[in-house]
Each structure stands twice: as structure tokens, then as C-alpha cells.
């Protein structure tokens, strides 16, 4: 538990078009070699946070307007994207995650690994971790199924030899079995390569299974933080993220009440 802090967000605020604040007062830490989960529903600001870290936020006319994002002690907020990529911070995006008109093998060859990393060894490692992909080497990536696509996306990200892997919505649109396979893979990667992962997820059960530490984001603020065990016991998490709704039938009114209650100290 005393690993070095690889990434630290300190009171980060992200604003779109100079007028719309998407994320405010977000502070979180990612320690080396751990898997950290960032939970939240739609629109909570998870993708914005990831984009702010990965440096691609300028494309949506957004900026980090307060606070700081530090990687190994150096500030990386509002730096140009290629600087951040060169540091080994790689993002697996939510949509558009593979090059559709290139084959699987070409997808993996297209990445530019981090300087000084052993590209050969990584390429072989990717084929080992994803044997299913090895069978699809010359298939066009656009023709892959959802699960295969996600595997390819993670594989391509791995081929970049990242130090910090940012994964946006690992489980979105995938069958539960495939999701299980993928999170198992993440654990293997963490163990074998010492990879640090920041996992953004709507599916709290999946994320809490695998994470070493978790944060909950709501309406652009961190409302809860802790180990998965702590969070699994938290009543709000149980009710609204894990679906253990209690005895009575949950209705929209309850959700509204929850949101209203949240606003007090959100």
C-alpha cells in the first residue's frame, strides 16, 4: 500500500467553452501498480476527467481551469497531447477505439511504442494475452465483434508500452462473460507487467471486483472514496450502484430523492 503515487489530481476543475463547468474539486490518487476505479452514472464527468488526464480535452474546447494534474510529480494539465502520450499515459477510448479499415495485425503495428520500450517483446506479449486475436490477425478490425474489438483496443494500448493505462467504459455493450474475461486479463496484466490502471466504469459491480481503490463521481464531484470493501458496504452504493434495492420496489421518485439528498453535500 505504500507504492509511489503515479498520478495525482488535485482539486481539478474542467470547463467547456469557458462557461460550462463539467467537473469540480476532483481530487484523486493513483498509486503505481494498482487498479483504481472511477465510478459514476452517465454525465457524471468520468470521460471528461479521463480526457483531461490524457490531454485530448482541447479538442472539445475545454480546459483545466483550476487545480492540477500531476504525473510523477510533474504537472501535465493542459499540456499538448503528444507530450502526455510520450510519458506513457495511454487511453483506451469509449468509442472509436480501433482503426476499422486496418487488419488486426496492422492495428497493432500502427502504434508507436514509448521510447525505450521493447516493442518486439510487447507485440508478442499481446498475442499471448489475447489468443483469440491471434486467430484473427488478418481480419479487418471493422468486422470484429464487440468483445474482440475491446480486446484489440486494449492490446493496441498495451503495445504502446504505457506506464498508466486509462480505460474508458471497459464493459460497455459487452456480454457479461466477455467482461469477466477482460477484467481477468486486466488483473493478469497488472500482475505480470506491473501495469497501473485507471478504470472508468458505469458497471460498479465489475469495477469493485477488480479495483484496489475506488472513487465515486457524481455531477462532477467526488462524493465517495475508499477500498471496494468499504464501498460495497455503503448504503447508497448498495442501493443505487449495485442494485441491492432493498425490499420495496424502487421507483423514479426514489432516485429523485436520492439525487436531491445528494445535492446537500454534493
Amino acid at each position: 500500500m505504500n507504492e509511489a503515487v503515479l498520478l495525482r489530481l488535485d482539486n481539478v476543475e474542467v470547463t467547456y467553452h469557458r462557461v460550462a463547468t463539467a467537473v469540480q474539486g476532483v481530487s484523486l490518487e493513483v498509486r503505481e501498480g494498482t487498479i483504481v476505479a472511477l465510478l459514476g452514472t452517465n454525465g457524471a464527468g468520468k470521460t471528461t476527467t479521463l480526457r483531461a488526464i490524457s490531454g485530448f480535452i482541447g479538442l472539445d474546447d475545454a480546459r483545466v481551469t483550476d487545480g492540477s494534474i500531476a504525473h510523477q510529480g510533474e504537472r501535465i494539465d493542459n499540456r499538448p497531447p503528444h507530450e502526455i502520450t510520450a510519458r506513457g499515459i495511454t487511453l483506451v477510448p469509449e468509442r472509436s477505439k480501433v482503426f476499422e479499415n486496418l487488419t488486426v495485425a496492422e492495428n497493432l503495428e500502427a502504434v508507436v511504442p514509448r521510447r525505450g520500450a521493447d516493442a518486439r517483446r510487447l507485440a508478442d506479449a499481446v498475442w499471448q494475452y489475447f489468443p483469440a486475436l491471434a486467430k484473427l490477425r488478418s481480419r479487418d478490425a471493422g468486422l470484429l465483434s464487440g468483445g474482440e474489438r475491446q480486446m484489440l483496443a486494449i492490446g493496441a494500448a498495451l503495445a504502446c508500452a504505457p506506464r498508466l493505462l486509462l480505460v474508458d467504459e471497459l464493459s460497455q455493450g459487452l456480454a457479461p462473460l466477455i467482461v469477466q474475461e477482460l477484467i481477468g486479463l486486466l488483473q493478469v496484466i497488472r500482475r505480470d507487467l506491473g501495469m497501473t490502471v485507471l478504470l472508468v466504469e458505469q458497471n460498479a459491480a465489475v469495477a469493485l471486483d477488480i479495483a484496489d481503490h475506488a472513487y465515486v463521481l457524481e455531477n462532477g464531484r467526488i462524493v465517495l472514496a475508499g477500498t471496494p470493501d468499504e464501498l460495497r458496504k455503503h448504503p447508497d452504493i448498495r442501493e443505487f450502484y449495485l442494485g441491492f434495492g432493498g425490499e420495496r420496489q424502487r421507483s423514479y421518485r426514489d432516485v429523485k430523492q436520492y439525487r436531491r439528498r445528494r445535492r446537500w453535500y454534493g
Partner: protein
Amino acid sequence: MQLAVNVAVLAAIYALISCGYVLIYRVSRVLSLAHGELMMLGAYGLAVTASLFVGHPLIAIGSAALLSVLVGVLVYVLLMRRMTGESVLAAVLTTIALGILLRGGMVLAFGTQTQYPLQQLGWINASLPVGPSARISAAGLLLVLATALVYAGLFAFLRMTRWGIRMRAAGQNPLLAAQRGIRLHGVYALAWGLATFSGGIAGMLLACDAGVEATLATIGLKAFPAALVGGLDSLAGALIGSLVIAFVEVALISYVDPLLSDVVPFFVLLAMLVVRPWGLFGTREELDRV
């Protein structure tokens, strides 16, 4: 038979120029309308190096080719790079402005007289026999060979080398490419360099064949329909499109009216736009029904 030879040579010229259009469009979605003028720059470049390296023709040609690549990269780095964030409209308008600048600049630098670098190179543009009844000029033969080499080289580059794959990736999904560590500026500069090189070769060989003068750039505009007919994002399409247009043009010039030469490519273009707008091999785009 002579007809076939003429078609081949004309198609070679169009193919070399239109592969530049395709490269730049495929990689950065920009229509570079300055390509004709850049080709002309290559031709004038040869005139310059030929007079500099009199007696060393190979060095002259080599340096002229290198110069083409350099010019292409410079055009990107100094000008087009600033336009990457802007709308495509602005980028295309910039290439139009660049074309005008180059045209005027070249007349200012080199005058309006036709130049014949071939004399300074010390070579003769022999007329070689092809089969029993046709002849081809040495420059024409070189054009056809150059086209074959350039296209073969580009195909190999794009399919088999890492940077070629990265170029294709950047053309498909620039954001993802950047996220995977591909330096977009480098890829675009490379595309511009290769495009200008290819056009420059055409320009140089044309200079050897017919001399360099200011109106050479209109051939660049005529090669544009070739790129479009084949499909703006397909190299194979550019080759085939060039053949089609060259064939129709030569046929109509020979049998109907020699003055049609400037218009024919655009007739074919218009017909293509009506029938199959994305070209023979281009990616299908959505059609809005009017």
C-alpha cells in the same frame, strides 16, 4: 498502336500528379489545389539544378527530386500546419492562395520564356520505336516507368512498412492515431513530401519532353478529375482513373476535335459525379436524396 502509346504516356502524367492529390486527401482530408503549381516547381527545379550541375546529369536529377520532397515538407510545415485546426474550407482556400503565389512567383523568378533543361543535362530525347508502327519519346517511356515505380513503391510503403500503416491509420482516425502515439504533423509532412515528389517527377520529365513554361500548371488541374474518377482516397483508383481519362481524351482528340483536350477530363468528371460520385474505388459516401 500509336494511340495506345499516347494514352499510356498521358495516363502516366495524370497518374503521377493525381497520386499526390490522393495521398494528401487520404491522409488529411484536404484538397490540395496547389498541386499543379507544385509540379511546375519540380520542373523548374530541374532547370535550376541542370544549369548548376552541367555535365553531371544524374546529380542534377537526384538533387531536383530531393528538392521536391523538401518543398513539399516545407509547404506543410510552414503553411498547412497552421491550418490543421481550422475548417477544411479554410485549408482548401489556403492551397488555392498558395497556388496563385507559386504561379506568380515562378514567373517572377524564371521569366516567361520556355526553358529546356534537357540541353543542359546533355541528354537527347530520342524517339524510340514501339512495335511496328508506333514511336515513343524517351521522356515518355521514362514517364511510364516512373509511374510504375512510384505506384509500386507507394503500395509497398503503405501496406508493408510501419510508417505506411501509420499513415493509413492517421488518415482513417486522426484522434485515435494521436492517442496511439502517432505524430500527426510528421505523417502529414511525409504525405506532402511524397505527393510533391511524385508530382515533381512528372514535372521534370515533362520538362525534358516539352520544355518548362508557365502554363504547365494547367495539367495539374486536368489531373484532378483523374483522382476523383478513381476515388479520392484510393491510389489504385487514381491509376485507373488516369487511364480512363487519358483514353477518352486521346480518343476524342484524335477522332473528334483537338481543341477538346482541356475539357474532356471535366466531362468525364461530371458524368462520374452524376453516376457514382465517390469514384470507382473510393469509399462510398452517403447520398442525400434531393
